[in-house]
């Protein structure tokens, strides 16, 4: 029974550690997908110039864009951006994303492309940081949690 409880404890601690590390992965994926989304949107603006609604319809079936497309479609309908679903972003990041969304589609093609390029450049920095966090912090959290779980188990034994 004691051994069983210790295994359960280790599993619970590792599960918590895994879910924390997943947030870093999610954040990296979100920024990576946002980058791909904006790159595709930039291609659209510079060549086909399909309207935003048409572009979103085309791109929505791709699973990786779903979070952002859903948020954006809500904004298009209501005129308000509700980023409550994006829990992985902090307030500053949400503000930056809001300013991007508010500005999308409000300029001529040349300015729109410049705007997208600027945002992509700043996104690149975020992506690098998110990638570093993912590669460094995630394994560290898992390792430390494992050590903590083993340590706690020894103490309990």
């Amino acid at each position: 029974m004691k051994w069983f409880l210790i295994i359960v404890l280790i599993c619970v601690i590792m599960l918590i550690a895994y879910s924390v590390s997943e947030q870093y992965k999610d954040k990296f994926d979100f920024y990576n997908n946002l980058k791909l989304f904006l790159q595709q949107f930039k291609i659209n603006v510079s060549f086909r110039q399909a309207k935003i609604n048409e572009f979103l319809k085309e791109i929505k079936p791709k699973k990786q864009f779903k979070i952002f497309v859903d948020e954006y479609q809500i904004y298009l309908k209501s005129g308000n951006l509700n980023l409550t679903n994006l829990k992985l972003l902090d307030e500053e990041e949400k503000e930056e994303l809001s300013s991007l969304v508010f500005n999308i589609g409000k300029f001529d093609a040349k300015t729109e492309i410049n705007q997208l390029e600027n945002f992509l450049a700043s996104l690149e920095l975020k992506l690098t940081k998110a990638s570093e966090d993912k590669n460094k912090i995630c394994p560290m959290i898992l390792k430390l949690s494992l050590l903590f779980a083993i340590g706690l188990s020894i103490l309990l034994i």
């Binding site: 603006v45 110039q49 399909a50 309207k51 935003i52 609604n53 298009l76 999308i104 589609g105 409000k106 300029f107 001529d108 093609a109 040349k110 300015t111 729109e112």
Partner: protein
Amino acid sequence: MLKDYLPRDIYNLIIKNFSFNDITEIRMRVNENLIIAIKNKKYYLKDENQNFIKVNSTLIENFIRRISENSIYAYNDNIINGYLTLPKGIRVGLCGNIVTDGNKIVTIKEFQAVNIRIPHLIKNCSLPAFDFIVDDEVKNTLIISSPGNGKTTFLRDFIYQLYAHNISKNVLIADERNEICSVVNGEPAVNLGGFCDIYTNCSKSFAFKNGIRSMRPDIIVTDELDLEKDLPSILEAINSGVSVIATIHAKDLNQLKKKSNFDKILNEKYFTRFVVLSGDEGPGTLTGIYDEKLNCLYCR
């Protein structure tokens, strides 16, 4: 149609107070009252308490955001020309601060005024003039009227009448501002018959030159002729054996005579019919039809 673009309360007031089929224009100017035009009369829109509906810049901005479907980049080519075309042929004229880059217009910002023009098809309105323009051939014709007096309506009906009279000639429409056909997603908003090929949103010189080469038209129809800029294109078409039907802004023949290059048109007999329209009894009132020597063939 405008339900999707105008704020709901304003749309409901319009519908409540006016018959939508009679409205020709809805005008919105920043800090001014919203105006509804019915034929040649103008009315202020009022709310339930009989207060005038005042337009502000946010209203206009939101309206433009809606009509451009949040995609200004997709509409900017039209915006820089000062208009947008909505489905069902509704045209939105735009006024505001013009942004330039050198001599090139980049876009319009800080919109000050919007004019929503709702087209009305007046069936058979061109019929009184039809026989003067079409006999064995379709004569080169210039349709003259001041803005808002039915030139485009006349032109649309004339194109349809060619089809209805079974005159199976290829009609090329050089629709520089997408006003004649109001093409949205490749589909004209008005029934022009089955013999039309349409160039929209391109210069007349492009449409005439490429159209004659590639579409083999018998008739070219175009709107709002600029006698200085468009004359070489007209000449090229006429010398290629293509009939030209065009419209021009002028109140009457006397005003037209004052335009530069009109002497040349008259002396060289580019056009052999001049149709004058006025708004005397509503837009599109046929005032006179003249031949190449400006002899009156039909006078009201």
